[in-house]
């Protein structure tokens, strides 16, 4: 009975949202990029770099909001490299994104040494303030942003001309091109937006929830965000649902001791559940048709 109460307790729900925050943002970012036809497995690296830049920004200005801005910009910077290489130079999107991830692990630790003279944990810096809403919701700002962004992204994708264009570019870039829509420019923009969101997710890790940068602190969350995006069938609300599910199982795993399953293995529970759900009930998440293919106008 106690376990049952625990399953839906407020603390679990809050923890779920905290876990889910970077996943939601990452998934939304991935969604925008992939809807335009560009695979973005570089979210992980963009998150990590965003996390670092946020700490640096907050540290030197003593203003966490500057940290947020810098974190977002850093995500955008790495995303522009991804876009430059994969959209402009038409390289394989997976290779380019892999490069981003490798680059991010290297550059963050490198800069830690150059700027903070340490290779592990940065000094603590001012963190974003907690925003107590109605004396009840105890979250850091980025959690609210993430939640607000879900419907916004949905409206953007499904109600505005830009969304329509992005969706058509991901499905049938030639069709968009013949109507005068600049496919590669839009793709560039979408990838950069996804970098901004990933950077924000990273910022949440370092100065939203936390207050310092720790090397490799993204710890695979970019990939999980990607999974949430696919699991959510490339839909913002689906991604939200998936991120919440992942967050929920993590939150629960920390609070409830399940009989029969060794603790270490229970940590894998969300991943196992995801696979089972994907295999059994949810079926196919159909990616945009033109995803992964660089767009060549007029054979150039």
């Amino acid at each position: 009975m106690e376990i049952l109460a625990e399953l839906f307790s407020l603390s679990v729900i809050f923890a779920t949202l905290r876990f889910a925050t970077p996943l939601i943002l990452g998934a939304l970012g991935g969604l925008i990029s992939e809807r335009s036809g560009v695979i973005n497995i570089g979210l992980e690296g963009m998150m990590l770099f965003g996390a670092f830049a946020a700490v640096y920004g907050s540290g030197i200005t003593s203003n966490p909001w500057m940290g947020l801005i810098l974190g977002i910009l850093a995500g955008m910077l790495l995303a522009s490299i991804h876009a430059l290489v994969s959209v402009k130079f038409k390289a394989d999107q997976i290779i380019s994104a892999t490069g981003i991830n490798i680059f991010a692990t290297g550059i963050t630790v490198f800069l830690l040494q150059v700027l903070f003279n340490t290779a592990g944990t940065s000094p603590r810096v001012p963190r974003l303030p907690a925003w107590q809403i109605m004396d009840f919701f105890p979250f850091r700002p980025i959690t609210y942003f993430a939640l607000i962004l879900v419907p916004l992204v949905w409206i953007f994708l499904y109600k505005t001309p830009w969304g329509l264009r992005i969706r058509s570019i991901g499905e049938h870039p030639q069709a968009a091109d013949t109507l005068g829509i600049n496919v590669n420019r839009w793709r560039f923009i979408c990838v950069v937006i996804s970098g901004a969101l990933a950077g924000m997710a990273g910022t949440h890790l370092s100065i939203g929830a936390g207050s310092a940068f720790v090397r490799d602190m993204s710890a695979g969350r970019g990939f999980i965000a990607l999974a949430a995006m696919i699991f959510g069938k490339y839909n913002p609300f689906g991604a939200l649902g998936a991120a919440l599910l992942f967050g929920y199982s993590e939150a629960l795993a920390l609070r409830v001791d399940l009989p029969f399953i060794p603790d270490e293995l229970f940590r894998a529970f969300p991943y196992v559940v995801t696979i089972i759900v994907l295999a059994g009930f949810i079926g196919k998440a159909t990616p945009p048709k033109a995803i992964g293919k660089p767009y060549n106008k007029s054979g150039d």
């Binding site: 394989d92 991830n101 680059f103 290297g106 695979g220 991943y271 994907l278």
Partner: protein, 391 residues
């Protein structure tokens, strides 16, 4: 055999056909050289940009690169160790490349390497009375089978359920860590190392510096040069080369390879051609996973003589880059693996020159960016040339 002339001719043909196949345009040796030239150019560009970072770190790029080169190719020992470092990268590169050819993206080489390494190390430890001739192959096979089965899961789900293999392999990477490191090591270790117990000697992969101790070989003078204890190169490297040859053979010389490539390019057409698409997807993933598992086994039985936490060291992800650098061809993968192996090996020496080791990681990433981007430059050149010819 009776016609040596013809025989060597055919060999030559075969060799050139390998190169031809390597180049998608099939336009022969000339463009192979071009290809190599571009790879070289992008590596050089990456190092030039990398030198900016070295300058930021307050060191001299020239000294740094000298150390890098010195450390990877400066002596016979170092060279052998470069080969040693490239072993897991070649293997994961091959694994990823093989799946790519089947139209699958095995982002799970990392997890397969972990599971394979764990299985190999456990088999290598648990059996105490087996002769080497049995114990070693069984341990290696255990790693391959474990990796293969691990990769078979996404293969099966893709083939039977249409589940995207990328998401499943990402999930399985995390599960592999839970199973092999969090749970596996915890339950089997003895002592404080975060590792499984050392494998029996009968399961260790032969190290090249033991060549001199060999009862027959020790009478050959050249064997001495391997005698240095600093040499880490082990049999795993030979496995990597053999794996490359076998995979090349499977991919381009057998009906299985033909079918896998057909499925990879166009599964509808493959189905029309009587190819069992599901079977080939699963097989391709299993083979890919087995090779990644071999990477794990080679690291566990050769390099660490146990399954040790941190052993994977991101080799699975570097393997993706290696595969793509090598254009998913075994020869290219070997070259790509050697390059990244050299960077890793030489990176240590660069640290002695005062340069943070992250420079190596940064250069790896830059190489990827430039190889990818210079493709564009190449297309531009080719187009210019074509225009010239057409006129």
């Amino acid at each position: 055999m009776s016609e040596p002339q013809k025989d060597s001719n055919q060999k030559f043909k075969k060799i050139t056909s390998v190169f031809k196949e390597w180049i998608s345009g099939n336009s022969g040796v000339k463009s192979t050289l071009e290809e190599l030239g571009f790879s070289l150019l992008s590596i050089i560009t990456a190092m030039i940009v990398g030198s900016l970072f070295i300058l930021i770190a307050g060191e001299s790029p020239i000294t740094a690169y000298q150390a890098l080169f010195e450390g990877s190719f400066g002596s016979f020992d170092y060279f052998l160790n470069t080969l040693w470092r490239s072993t897991p990268l070649i293997l994961t590169g091959l694994a990823v490349a093989f799946s790519f050819r089947a139209g699958l993206f095995n982002i799970g080489a990392e997890g397969q390497l972990i599971i394979g390494g764990f299985a190999a190390a456990m088999v290598g430890y648990v059996f105490t009375d087996l002769p080497t001739i049995i114990h070693l192959p069984v341990s290696v096979l255990a790693g391959m089978v474990a990796g293969g089965l691990w990769a078979g899961i996404p293969g099966l789900l893709k083939a039977k359920r249409g589940v995207h293999e990328v998401i499943v392999t990402i999930m399985l990477n995390h599960i592999a860590i839970s199973v092999a490191i969090d749970y596996g090591i915890n339950n089997f270790r003895d002592g404080g190392r975060q590792a499984t117990p050392y494998v029996q000697e009968t399961a260790e992969l032969f190290n090249f510096n033991q060549l001199g101790e060999h009862s027959i070989l020790q009478h050959f003078p050249p064997v001495d040069i391997f005698a240095a204890p600093a040499i880490n190169l082990h049999l795993g490297f030979i496995f990597a080369l053999i794996a490359a040859v076998i995979l090349w053979y499977i991919m381009w010389k057998t009906t299985l390879g033909y079918e896998i490539r057909a499925v990879g390019f166009n599964s509808s057409a493959a189905e029309y051609g009587g190819v069992n698409v599901a079977k080939n997807i699963i097989l391709a993933m299993v083979i890919s996973g087995a090779v990644a598992g071999l990477a794990g086994a080679s690291e566990a039985l050769g390099t660490h003589r146990s399954f040790i936490s941190g052993m994977d060291a991101g080799h699975g992800f570097t393997g993706i880059a290696v595969a793509l650098l090598g254009r998913n061809h075994p020869i290219g993968v070997i070259l790509g693996g050697l390059l990244f192996g050299a960077l890793a090996q030489g990176g240590l020496h660069m640290q002695f020159a005062g340069v943070p080791q992250e420079i190596v990681t940064i250069i790896q990433a830059l190489v990827i960016f430039f190889i990818a981007s210079l493709q564009m430059f190449k297309i531009f050149l080719v187009r210019r040339k074509a225009k010239g010819e057409a006129k």
